[in-house]
């Protein structure tokens, strides 16, 4: 087996153990534990964004909008019909994922920059919809006192155990990506990312695979949205606006798109910043902007992508004799 894969797998397992252990370590410090919980939600989101952005090559800026649809729907189901979170969350997420597919349909023929523009328009419309349907969303004021999910015994999920549930979902989300990528479906995604015309000539149904990808990425967005709403306890249209989409995109691009570990690294490094720099709100947005420029210009592959590239270069330099071109056979 390729040692690089072994490394990535070991790193993944180490990160998973760390994620599941940290809630216990941070139990005494509510602030840090909360930051940890937010990081876990963002790891889940970044893994989902990476499926479409990193593997299919489409940048979905309506990501936060889908998360918002699921969050509002979940709250509506629990408040108006008395559903349990554990029933409302999957139902709302599934519905939001289907809406994600529908919203993706018009952009099926677009790729690259044009897809991104289209998704930006969709995100903007969704943000406006959250404001203009106050019956469901309470408009700009937002919804507060969102009940946390209930625990097995009916008590509300809180503290250590809520953090642990978030960690489990984050680990499961990343693990699902790691499982998916080497499968035939994952390989088709990569082929579409590299060259969709060639992929079609090689027998890959580009439209169908893109729809599957839209569904999966929307599902990640939606599940994360439901947890975000119950964990923070308050949502407003601002929580699910285009800046949120861009932030999640930045986690993926900064960490390393098209790798499993990269988006996790990105989320772990960048997601805590707004909480740790609460006194410097203006500076936070400046930092985001600077990071976007730096990533685009200096680290097009992200931190982890750059690491892999350097490692490959070193390996190639270490063995200059092999890999010469095949001499013509006579």
């Amino acid at each position: 087996m390729n040692p690089r894969h072994l490394n990535a797998r070991n790193m993944g397992i180490a990160l998973a153990i760390l994620a599941l252990a940290l809630p216990f370590v941070l139990e005494g410090n509510r602030f840090l534990a909360f930051v940890f919980g937010m990081v876990m939600i963002n790891v889940l989101w970044a893994s989902g964004m990476n499926l479409l952005y990193g593997y299919v090559g489409l940048m979905p800026l309506m990501f936060a909008g889908i998360a918002g649809i699921a969050a509002y729907a979940m709250i509506y189901l629990t408040r108006s019909f008395g559903w349990s979170f554990w029933l409302a969350m999957p139902a709302a997420s599934f519905g939001a994922a289907l809406i994600g597919v529908l919203l993706g349909l018009p952009s099926l023929r677009l790729k690259g920059f044009y897809f991104t523009l289209c998704s930006l328009v969709i995100q903007t419309v969704l943000t406006l919809a959250f404001i203009f349907f106050p019956h469901f969303t309470n408009g700009d004021t937002g919804l507060n006192q969102i009940a946390p999910p209930e625990w097995f015994n009916g008590a509300p999920l809180a503290g250590l155990w809520f953090d642990l549930v978030l960690a489990i979902f984050a680990v499961a989300g990343a693990a699902f990506c790691a499982w998916l990528v080497p499968t035939r479906l994952g390989q088709r995604f990569i082929a579409i990312r590299e060259d969709d015309v060639l992929a079609a000539v090689l027998g890959i149904n580009v439209v169908r695979n893109k729809i599957i990808a839209f569904f999966l990425v929307s599902l990640y967005a939606a599940v994360g949205g439901c947890f975000y709403a119950t964990y923070v306890g308050f949502i407003s249209p601002r929580a699910f606006d285009v800046l949120t989409s861009l932030n999640i995109w930045l986690f993926v691009a900064f960490g390393g798109r098209g790798t499993i570990i990269g988006p996790i690294i990105g989320a772990v490094i960048l997601a805590p910043i707004p909480f740790l720099l609460q006194e410097l709100q203006a500076f936070k947005d400046v930092l985001s902007g600077v990071l976007i420029i730096v990533v685009t210009l200096v680290l097009p592959g992200g931190i982890y992508g750059e690491l892999l590239r350097r490692r490959a270069l070193r390996r190639a330099a270490a063995q200059p004799q092999t890999g010469t071109t095949a001499a013509p056979r006579t």
Binding site: R184, Q187, R188, I190, A191, E194, D195, V197, L198, A199, A200, V201, L202, G203, I204, N205, V206, G323, T324, T325, A326, P328, R329
Partner: protein, 237 residues
């Protein structure tokens, strides 16, 4: 029964007529060449037959299926594939990954490992498997393109200028490879290099401004007065 049967195919782009009532028939095992001046509709013809463009009118049958309006991925499944004038491989992936992607189509019923190995050695890509496909020479990329198509066990492969851009010695090698390819599947080939047509094709179709003006064995076609005048170029020379 013919493998490919195209009847009265027409296509226009705005006011430009790209193809006008073109009939082409091909038997299984045959190598059919298509020649014509630039802009005569050759690539448009391949684009339509391979499902990348829609025809305005006409009929198309491949291997007993009505294929007019079918998508490229459906045609790949039926065994009709193509290459590109500007070579097209997954430049960002390794040669091995390129081949693996091509093998996704048939999965279990695909080539056995030994057959794939044989193809790889025949096309002399066995030492380049770990390299990035984007870093290969043009000739290597053309061979990889062929390998990826053959891994899908096509019945018909449509080659759009397979020796375009190759050096003289490489052209000779490519013709040799294509001659051996004839034993593996039916070939439809667009070419400007007359040597390729002469040495490869069993039959040649000549397009001129979207219309078929001749159809026959290469020796006969290359002597045809109209072809010489309009295409091989004695009129203005």
């Amino acid at each position: 029964m013919s493998l490919l049967e195209v009847s009265a195919l027409s296509k226009h782009f705005g006011g430009v007529i790209a193809l006008k009532n073109v009939d082409v028939q091909m038997r299984a095992g045959e190598t059919l060449g298509m020649i014509g001046p630039n802009g005569s509709g050759k690539t448009t013809f391949v684009n339509i037959v391979s499902g990348q463009l829609r025809a305005d009118s006409g009929g198309m049958r491949f291997d007993g299926h009505d294929t007019l309006g079918r998508q490229p991925h459906e045609l790949a499944r039926l065994g009709l594939t193509r290459s590109y004038q500007a070579v097209r491989v997954f430049a960002g992936l390794s040669v091995q990954k390129n081949i693996d992607t091509a093998c996704l189509l048939l999965a279990g019923e695909g080539l056995a490992r030994a057959q794939l190995q044989e193809l790889t050695e025949w096309l002399r890509l066995d030492l380049a498997l770990d390299k990035s496909a984007g870093g290969l020479t043009l000739f290597e990329q053309r061979r990889l393109e062929l390998l990826m198509r053959l891994a899908q066990r096509p019945k018909l492969i449509m080659l759009d200028e397979p020796v375009g851009g190759l050096a003289v010695t490489e052209v000779r090698e490519m013709i040799l490879l294509l001659q051996q390819l004839k034993a593996r599947c039916s070939i439809f080939v667009i070419e400007h290099t007359m040597r390729v047509i002469r040495e490869l094709a069993d039959r040649v179709v000549v397009l001129m401004a979207g219309e078929k003006i001749a159809d026959g064995p290469p020796a006969e076609i290359l002597r045809d007065q109209r072809v010489i005048e309009h295409y091989l170029g004695t009129v203005h020379a």
